[in-house]
Symmetry: C2
Subunit: 295 residues, 2 copies
């Protein structure tokens, strides 16, 4: 395990209709990040195209692909060529009628180090993910790579302290959130600011509570819902924080950015000695966390 | 249960050597808060005196008292007279050699609505609480009052998302953190800022993750450790946030302040409909939260 390495989050638009155009754009940015010295590059959730979950349309299941498959073959080759770790998120076709929202981690040798299937699936107006994605069945399991154990979680997972904690307890060195989140134009500016701040705060809270760095990578750009006048304004604001939740890098809401920061795993050791939260967890009283509600 | 009420956190120094002086000061501020229309008043952790846990000294066990006892009798009378709910934290003597750090909630009729014994006990240089306090055995149980169910947690508990979640699952309407936290003068200004920000962020994160308002009440002032040149500079910064973690009130680091805000329980209902996190928790995969570490 490396004690220090540079990591990059590629904040980008993913709204082009042509999958190859989106992927080529991502690959160009991965090359730039590698040139900067990054050893870990994270792409936004479902970066191959528009966020299709704005509507329920069975034609969109055609977008799903096997893992390993066409896209993973391409990204494997890039990881190997550039000698870096890449985190991609793909609409996975596992079997007929069985699909997942799946992160794939490529190690420096181009191998697939592991997969994480999104565990918490949202369903809100314009985020109809329960229609498309079966909840993950691989658990909250960090993925071992040559640079450390990556605790990959995806978008809606980011609101769940349990998910972050389980990754930490399983030895994750860093928490990574590929995401696709944005504003509804009908909400007020105040509501927009409040939502964005809550999104950043809860993830920084996971960093603090677990003494771990967090990388959160979002897309940008406005995407119309198919056949609708409305859409989602993806709010960017990708960020990297250290193991006390301190900002190391923070993108804006509108630009393509290669957000890069040094991940210092030794700092996590120091922070956890100063604030030894793991020492004192009242596990004898945590049994009810497996209940839906205590009533 | 009231749908809306005013709540106050009394940020104050607690460093006077005379317990009665400290209590009289708190009571004067409780009266002021009641005059403002507050129906819920929260005092800092162990507000009756100096933070004695800076050293391990068996003489300090003399500071402990029974519940109910002398102090609770006084605060019961005040709660009844002013028709308000009060949250106090007391060094509880339960039996010879058995002590707790205990929050007591007084309802508007002056009755003791319930107790919460601090569950997570810290032990760091200058915070030798494991010497004084037996970990709580009343669980993470919110306390029913005439204005709602209060999820009382104390200081070190604030770093544990599990504690906040269990209170939320048990029906808490608001999370309340009496606390005594401050800076070591030997740390840098940057470290001070980072620690304070982490402390605020993780608690705001609990508000976001659970869709609940949070009231955090800290003391102020520098207190020398007995027989030592060093001490703790208690950092104040008490705050009240709404159920998306948005600031409703925020105190500074140095002044006595009656921090008051409206707690709107209906907003929690709205926020939890917009972001229905409780709906989607992967309780089938949360069993390992009762493990110390997954290895």
């Amino acid at each position: 395990m490396k004690k220090k390495f540079l990591a990059s989050a590629i904040q980008q638009p993913c709204g082009d209709d042509n999958r190859q155009v989106n992927l080529d754009f991502s690959i160009a940015k991965i090359r730039e990040a590698a040139a900067l010295g990054s050893e870990l590059v994270v792409l936004p959730e479902l970066h191959l195209g528009k966020y299709f979950c704005q509507v329920e349309d069975h034609n969109f299941f055609d977008l799903a692909q096997a893992i390993p498959g066409e896209t993973t073959d391409i990204l494997s080759a890039i990881a190997k060529e550039l000698n870096i770790v890449i985190v991609s998120t793909i609409f996975e076709r596992r079997a007929a009628g069985l699909y997942h929202n799946t992160a794939v981690v490529f190690d420096k040798d181009g191998s697939i180090a592991g997969k994480y299937r999104k565990m918490h699936i949202p369903d809100d107006p314009a985020f109809y993910e329960k229609y498309y994605f079966t909840p993950g069945d691989l658990g909250f399991t960090p993925i071992q790579t040559s640079i450390g154990k990556l605790g990959i979680l995806i978008c809606w997972d980011q609101w769940y302290p349990e998910a972050a904690r389980l990754m930490a307890l399983a030895g994750a060195d860093v928490l990574i959130y590929p995401t696709a989140i944005g504003w509804d134009k009908n909400d007020t500016k105040e509501e927009h600011a409040c939502q964005l701040d809550a999104w950043i705060t809860v993830q920084r809270g996971h960093a603090v509570a677990n003494g771990l760095p967090v990388i959160s990578c979002n897309r940008i750009g406005f995407e119309f819902a198919p056949h609708e006048q409305s859409g989602i304004d993806f709010w960017g604001n990708s960020f990297i924080v250290g193991s006390q939740g301190e900002f190391l890098a923070h993108a804006n809401a509108i630009d393509t950015q290669i957000l890069t920061a040094e991940i210092d795993l030794k700092r996590s050791e120091t922070v956890r000695r100063i604030w030894p939260f793991l020492r004192d967890r009242r596990i004898d009283e945590f049994g009810n966390l497996t209940k839906r509600f205590i009533d």
